[in-house]
């Protein structure tokens, strides 16, 4: 998926299911061996949600977190607390499904090698909805019924992500 043309960047999102080695994966991720974000699918309603967060990470002149990949997790989160954001949206040792988000420049076309290390089954992204926990999402983004009765939930989520810097929540 293309991001803002100004960023010259493509976004790729892969869904892995039946993950067996989440613990090792997480450790390697923390050590910075994987150039990607790994996200809990339960908190993602639609790939567009990640696109908005990634796009924001690339457009911002300054990052709040260490890398563009942690920035995506931070942007996804409605809170400004960095470690809480990474904890909430990042993967857990016990997770059996995860989303892998990579960015590459328009000119490059490299297949990320490290994906092989994930002991799992890659599923089509359309299956994401099987893992989405809508009630948890509504809770985390503080979307009440008054709001969701008129505004599609995805719109509520992406708007919060895009305007996070301006909100004093």
């Amino acid at each position: 998926m293309d991001l803002d043309p100004e960023t010259n960047t493509k976004l790729s999102i892969k869904l892995f299911t039946q993950v067996k080695n989440a613990k090792e994966i997480k450790e390697q991720l923390i050590q910075g061996e994987f150039k990607c974000s790994m996200i809990k699918p339960s908190l993602i309603l639609d790939p567009f949600q990640i696109a908005v967060a990634a796009n924001k990470a690339l457009l911002n002149e300054k990052l709040t977190t260490k890398t563009v990949y942690t920035e995506i997790l931070f942007n996804l989160s409605p809170t400004k607390n960095i470690s809480k954001s990474l904890q909430t949206f990042g993967i857990d040792e016990k997770d059996d499904a995860l989303l892998v988000v990579t960015l590459c420049k328009d000119t490059e076309n490299e297949e990320a090698d490290f994906l092989k290390q994930i002991d799992a089954v890659e599923a089509p992204i359309e299956k994401l909805s099987d893992y989405t926990d809508i009630n948890l999402i509504k809770k985390i983004y503080k979307i009440n019924d008054k709001e969701s009765s008129v505004t599609p939930i995805l719109d509520s989520i992406v708007s919060r992500i895009a305007t996070k810097d301006f909100l004093s929540l």
Partner: protein, 232 residues
């Protein structure tokens, strides 16, 4: 801003239409006002982008439909937002009703606008620039068409929150109503007689507080009409 097409040059922003992250989008770019002192201009622009973003979200939380925000590019002073498809401005709809002499629908529409503004104020959102051009409507049931839509089947989508503030004072809410009333009357020939329907919608929605606001609003109206013109 590649592949975007200019659709409107407003007083302080240019609106472009295109596709952003795969969605039909509007890019609203605030441009520098060369007549304004540069430091005044840039602080106003930042202030208004912030105000707009805050109000858009606050409206959603309050159960008022507003365009979704996709990205904010501060270097370009641009907000990328949802292109509300199959919409019409309240201005055009009021003119449609007026042309066909449909007074009852016109009045009902005013009532619904009143309810939406009441909801804004109930949540302490002062729009700051309410006009019939700054309100969009879309159909509730059949998103494709607005033809022959009853006012009760419309969703009212306020836009253009650059001058908005979060403020609980009855004075500011009263000014908001006064600004809207005058904008409506100066734009639409039938607005004057229909404005009472707006006010009843406003009161019906904003049950605890509209009384005080309407009191202020009457006061503000008098200030305008009866101002002694030479101050000493």
């Amino acid at each position: 801003m590649k592949n975007f097409e200019l659709i409107k040059q407003g007083a302080e922003a240019k609106l472009y239409q295109g596709t952003y992250l795969g969605k039909p989008a509007i890019a609203k770019q605030r441009f520098a006002k060369k007549y304004r002192h540069p430091s005044l201009d840039s602080s106003l622009t930042k202030e208004r982008i912030t105000a707009e973003n805050r109000a858009l979200i606050r409206c959603k939380i309050a159960g008022i439909r507003t365009p979704a925000v996709y990205a904010v590019n501060l270097a370009e002073n641009t907000i990328y937002m949802e292109h509300v498809l199959h919409s019409k401005t309240a201005k055009d709809l009021i003119e449609d009703y007026s042309r066909s002499n449909d007074h009852s629908r016109l009045q009902e529409f005013f009532y619904h606008i009143g309810k939406t503004v009441g909801k804004l104020h109930e949540n302490n959102i002062i729009h700051g620039d309410l006009t019939s051009s700054n309100i969009l409507v879309v159909s509730k049931h059949n998103p494709q068409t607005l033809e022959n839509c009853n006012p009760s089947d419309l969703i009212i989508v306020p836009i253009d929150f650059g001058l908005s503030r979060i403020q609980s004072s009855a004075e500011d809410k009263g000014v908001d109503l006064y600004v809207l009333e005058r904008a409506l009357i100066s734009t639409h020939s039938l607005a004057e007689e229909s404005f009472e329907h707006f006010l009843s919608g406003y009161q019906a929605q904003y049950t605890n507080g509209s009384k005080e606001v309407l009191h202020k609003y009457d006061e503000i109206k008098l200030r305008g009409r009866k101002r002694v013109l030479i101050g000493i």
